[in-house]
Symmetry: C2
């Protein structure tokens, strides 16, 4: 298949490209290096060193005996999106090219607007290009489990059948996100659902949990590492905890730490994204998949990282709760469905403790870098203080 | 009170300013004349003649013995929004300054993106300016009943208590809009709900039905008419039907015409918007009001306009169904709540037939203009064809 990856230089995109190459697909990629630039701006960098794109692509070609055809540009520019579709004529497209950081979107007004505009416009461009140039394409779009928030009822996969005042309907599951970034994913889901309704586009909308891990089975062999961020803006919980342990720092859950979220390993994320491609929805279907392995509380993950680190190094990192920079429930019910990917054949690959052990082992090779990034790990972006002009 | 109206040059804004003046408030207004420009672009104009803003403001001052302090600018520009807040220090702000046409948003990719960006960014700018400069302000934001779509269950006002799999929660009523424009209002509602959650802003989010009418009690006296659009892009159902009758054209419901929508007169819209101001929500509350008088089917309105026109003129306009340019259910359940405004004291002023009679009488003074605009009345914007680059 001719597969186009928007955001091919990212954590997921670069890893997915390797899986798709190993499956024999023709890979086309686009990126504007937004994440690289913005990570630098907050004084951070990927813990695992990633070379410039030219070098990356060269090494990829050498290892996989297959080149990624790469296009540099911004998918929020409609001309670029249309040019991509015209030149690539893809059978499927992954949209992984959105601003992906909740804290980034909460820094202030400028970043809030930037996140709204670039994320929503990129998805609108995508559905128009698909409708105009390739209406049979399969669009696989990365959303987030964070779209649902933490309601006091079970979370379904996209839609729910309800009875209300004696009448029944199937309605979109009510979303309730907790950052401008997460809301852009909700808005995108709504826009995609609408594009599907008016133009019958074939869409998989992936509600992904928090991804952790340094590698997949392909990366184990290729050593073509993907980026790995641990700073307060671009990193995420479990990955950051592992880096804190490696750097000899306390592990710092936000607030009470009883927040529960769906998590999955990088290996499983790629497996699921590939499954979505191999088992597409029906023509004209808008499909929502909840993509995660297990849900855990942040405290449980902090403790598990601490225990695994002790097993490896003999030292037991302290767990130190810090004031929650976010506005979110710290004690709540959480029970999201995630049946559809299992029905498509997904079986979790891993074992949490083993996966964490692997992350720690990989990070130990970059211990100095983890220590050096100490300065950007603790929260500096506070939801309530988000700055104006 | 110091009241700021964003979009003061519009159909609702100009009329509201007159009500607020008659109530003795200090009025500040902003506009960038987007609607004037865009209406001209589709070859149309307001049937009721509206003078340039300078003349308008002068006549307003003369009649009401009170000036509107006017600021020309774009509320999607954060600097302009902040300058407004700094100079005006309003006690309350009405946000009526969004791109308001569903067909305009569906013309093509350019208009879809323009609508997304300008509407969402204006609301984000507003909540940041409020948080930074005036956190106790009351924000009254114009949304639409169209946010809810036409579910097979009763529609509540913003939130619903549901029981699902044996557990209960109060959740945002699931939205399901039917144009990019309507979706921007959903996205805004979500963004406002979130801004309220993190910053405790006091917000009234108005889910307004379709407004009809040429005048209010103030306009009857002042003769300072507001704009009145009848073309396929900027006009709305009932107003357009009246103009078709006056122009001697057939009245043209879209599709089967069994679409039901909430409607209210311009007089009632202004009454409700003023009530929202006089009876604000509690500090830190996000309040959603469903603002309409009755719901009608499009067919019922077409027939009523035809009958009233016959009573006035003796001639009975033909009703001619045309292919529906939109993608929407043409037969559906519809039962939205609208209790909260009644609880605040709203009582509908009118009688549909009388209101339609008044519109027809006013339009008969501009019969030639209605005839002249014949060329822009029939649908040219088709949801399924919305054009790309």
């Amino acid at each position: 298949m001719r597969v186009l990856i928007l955001g091919v230089d990212g954590y997921i995109g670069w890893t997915l490209a390797q899986r798709l190459a190993s499956k024999g697909h023709d890979i086309y990629g686009a990126d504007n290096f937004f994440t690289r630039k913005r990570v630098k701006e907050v004084g951070s960098e990927s813990v695992l060193p990633i070379p410039p794109m030219g070098t990356r692509l060269k090494r990829f070609g050498d290892f996989y005996r297959k080149d990624i055809k790469f296009f540099r540009g911004n998918v929020a520019d409609p001309d670029f999106m249309y040019r991509l579709f015209e030149e690539v004529r893809p059978d499927a497209v992954y949209h992984l090219a959105e601003q992906r950081s909740a804290p980034y979107s909460m820094i202030g007004l400028k970043q809030a607007n930037e996140t709204m505009v670039s994320n929503l416009v990129s998805t609108i461009n995508l559905v128009y290009a698909a409708k105009d140039l390739n209406p049979n394409i399969h669009i696989i779009k990365l959303g987030t489990m964070g779209e649902y928030g933490t309601p006091n009822i079970d979370i379904t996969e996209g839609f729910m059948e309800i009875e209300f005042r004696g009448r029944k309907d199937t309605v979109p599951f009510p979303r309730n996100a907790s950052s401008w970034y997460h809301w852009t994913k909700v808005h995108d889901s709504n826009n995609l659902m609408f594009a599907n309704r008016i133009w019958k586009l074939k869409i998989t909308d992936v509600m992904q949990g928090v991804v952790y891990g340094t590698a997949t089975k392909e990366i184990e062999k290729s050593r073509l590492y993907t980026r790995f961020d641990i700073d307060e803006v671009w990193g995420t919980a479990l990955n950051r905890f592992a880096a804190q342990a490696v750097a000899g720092l306390p592990i710092t859950p936000y607030g009470k730490g009883n927040q529960k979220r769906g998590f999955l390993s990088l290996e499983d994320s790629i497996t699921c994204l590939n499954l979505a491609l191999e088992k597409p929805p029906k023509d004209g279907e808008y499909r929502v998949l909840n993509q995660f392995d297990q849900y855990y509380s942040v405290n449980f993950l902090a403790e598990t990282v601490s225990e695994v680190f002790k097993d490896i190094s003999g030292k037991s990192p302290e767990i130190k709760h810090v004031d929650n920079p976010r506005v979110e429930a710290e004690e709540h019910y959480y029970n999201p469905d995630h049946k559809k990917l299992y029905d498509l054949g997904y079986r979790p690959s891993g074992d949490l403790r083993k996966d964490i052990g692997k992350i720690i082992t990989d990070l130990l090779d970059h211990k100095e870098k983890c220590k050096e990034l100490k300065k950007v790990i603790m929260p500096r972006t506070f939801w309530r203080k988000s700055s104006g002009l």
